[in-house]
Subunit: 450 residues, 2 copies
């Protein structure tokens, strides 16, 4: 699909005005999250690959221009500009899988202001979705304490694009696989699935349905045991398990989707073990998220893997991030960059071209970030790296597996508390002295100027 | 995009098992919402057009089959079946824009069980998204009491598909337009936009930015007045309004995006009127939804139009519906349909092939619905109509304008309370006596059978 027109109209109206008044102006924009949602103490950067693919392919074709022309808003001069449009700016970004915090730019654009403006809507849209989901899924992973977690959210994600991106973002965050087949194909993610209640219901007896399914997939059977009476369902699953054992096949697992999962999982584990089916795994699903998984495990539920759906796939407790795209500098008549910032008291921003520096202690643990100016010598490791130069992508996409590993390694170095389901500790993000100075002097000047 | 693989893996594994054991079985599935989210007293059916387009185009191509083959799960026999796959069932559905309630099937499928199962994930995904948004947007419309409302949500919708569908669903619900240009092009929806704070900031003085923009769009200018000091912003906008007036152009409006909107809108209205600019409209935006709009209007805010974003475009207070797809009957060995239902106490369903009947009083007002069996003579108007027969679409899509009008007319006949922001009244949906009887007799039989 051609995504060029996937933008807010005002990007184009402003662009036309810029093309008349600011054709030679360059600007820097920061994409960052203003404040973290409740219960979130960190975010996981996700969406850069989509951003760069979008940038690479961004062209306005004849049909797009025809549509824009008939709106009666745009001059032929501007439509001509759009017909030749190609993003030619620089992009700095945190690699996908980077842990980051409020106020830290996750993408930084320096480009002709028209170009920087035109890409705004798409960047916000895709970084919001993917980062929000990766962050939520990462919390689910933390709550599951090493158990496998699968993405079952396709039926309630907000449309098809979200279906795909949720699978990818949750896999990146450590999930073991997804139910979404197209995501499996697109991103080479393991796909997983069991059976639905309707399948069990179309057979006369539950056992018949289990037999049919296990005959079809003797080495890949997970039986859903709660369609009627869960205890009987577990007994029927055990019969299938023993039957498969005779033919040298292993029943993979059973799935609990309702009722008191803690009690049922203990009962199931005991019954399975008593029957010599210790290897049969117990899957749990049904309205799960990090809060419920924590509760289950705190109560001693004997679950080997979780299937999470709607709550993760929509980030139900926080279905958006406060992600914004703010100008931080632009060129004056002489072509020199001049820092700027938003003044309104509630929504103040940080001026200038910035970098995020991360600091470790001697034990290789992260202790603080400093948000400073790009050329400031603060020490620490800079998190923003250059991924596009004059419109050319100079970044080699790492594999999803590599991003997963990066995130896991990254997370292991952060204080435990920020990874807990109910975090209290706020990881320190410190504004550098130079940035603070710039901000104060600029605030004074801007307030006077207006 | 080919959406054939946009499904949960278990649809395909169950399908392979069905292809061995239930190749000739037909079944009926109901797609319905189990319970309405908090503060929702009605839902607006939306998504049927997507469903039917999906059904029409649903084919598994070579690449899809190649991917499935290498999963090592599927037989060549089944892959051959998929290569010839075409949905050949019947679909009954409520037309888009129909008001409906919990437990009422909004789509009903009768098809070979394999086919009915394969389409499940997509149907749930798209009906969930579109109906959820149309329902939320309809509440926003009610709260706005006749004022114009615009969709500004693209930057925070969950991906590109949601961006488009939110624009369409909210327009269907009565919105005046959208900021999303691609939605404008795709669905012929009016597009709207103003300017961003960054635009104002790149000029030395606010007034310069206003001048530049109004010179570019002398007949389509809405000025964002809160970048620095809102009162001064309004004064500057008035200067532009007067300047435009001299050249026989009208300033279209000003936009308030922060601060005390009620107080600022009154101040702006007074100042505009005093300057002879009574025709200049006041737009408000910034974290709006039905709750905030109600509060603004209750407090006497003088706003002509609202721009709503994230809260509407993600249905933030309820980012999913409890929408499910449940089997209600299937054929026995003789090919006769036998009703079925789910028994588990929390999630009981209604058996048999059903219809929803809507009743009016003498004053043409809706008073109740009856959920009954298809062939039952309950009276009332049946809401489910046949839209596909043996896989052929027999439904002519009405225009979006017609759907809007249908919904508006429909809504006008419902009790006022269900349309309020904090509804208390529950519109009666009554289970017919025959359906009740069937349910009870079947519950007894099914419980015994297991």
């Amino acid at each position: 699909m051609n995504n060029a027109l996937l933008l807010d109209l005002y990007e184009l109206t402003m662009a036309q005005s810029y093309s008349l008044y600011k054709r030679d102006t360059f600007a820097t924009f920061d994409l960052f999250v203003r404040a973290l949602p409740k219960h979130r103490a960190y975010l996981v950067a996700c969406g850069l690959e989509s951003v760069l693919n979008y940038i690479k392919e961004l062209r306005f074709n004849k049909e797009d221009l025809g549509y824009l022309r008939q709106l009666g808003l745009f001059s032929e001069d501007f439509l001509g500009y759009l017909s030749r449009f190609k993003f030619k700016g620089d992009i700095w970004a945190m690699p996908e899988g980077t842990v980051f915090f409020a106020d830290e730019p996750v993408v930084r654009i320096t480009a002709p202001i028209i170009e920087a403006q035109i890409i705004e809507s798409f960047l916000l849209n895709t970084i919001n979705l993917q980062t929000m989901i990766a962050s939520k899924a990462s919390r689910v992973m933390q709550a599951a304490k090493g158990r496998g977690v699968y993405d079952f959210s396709l039926r309630r994600t907000h449309g098809s694009d979200a279906g795909l991106k949720v699978s990818r973002a949750s896999f990146l965050a450590g999930f073991s696989g997804t139910s979404c087949v197209l995501a499996g194909k697109t991103y080479k993610i393991p796909v997983a699935g069991t059976m639905a209640h309707s399948f069990v219901m179309t057979f006369k007896h539950e056992l018949d349905s289990f037999l049919a399914y296990s005959n079809t997939f003797p080495r890949r059977t997970i039986l859903l045991v709660d369609t009627y009476d869960t205890k009987k369902g577990i007994e029927n699953a055990i019969r299938i398990g023993l039957h498969l054992k005779e033919t040298k096949c292993r029943l993979e697992g059973i799935r609990l989707d309702s009722g008191n999962i803690t009690a049922l999982s203990k009962l199931a584990r005991r019954a399975l073990n008593r029957a010599g089916l210790n290897y049969v795994k117990i899957f749990a699903s049904g309205d799960l998220d990090e809060f419920r998984i924590k509760k289950l495990l705190d109560n001693g539920a004997l679950v080997d893997s979780f299937g999470v759906g709607t709550n993760m796939g929509t980030s139900a407790d926080a279905p958006s991030l406060d992600v914004v795209y703010k100008i931080s500098e632009f060129t004056d008549e002489k072509g020199d960059f001049v820092p700027t910032m938003k003044l309104s008291s509630e929504k103040i921003t940080y001026p200038g071209r910035k970098q995020v520096y991360r600091f470790k202690d001697k034990r290789d643990r992260f202790i603080k970030d400093i948000l400073g100016l790009e050329k400031e010598k603060t020490g620490g490791k800079p998190l923003l790296i250059k991924v596009a130069e004059k419109g050319r992508i100079i970044y080699k996409f790492p594999s999803l597996e590599k991003i997963r590993a990066l995130l896991e390694n990254n997370l292991s170095k952060f204080p435990e508390d920020i990874k807990s389901v109910y975090p209290r500790y706020k990881y320190p993000v410190i504004i550098s002295s130079q940035l603070n100075k710039l901000r104060h002097s600029l605030a004074g000047r801007l307030a006077q100027g207006q």
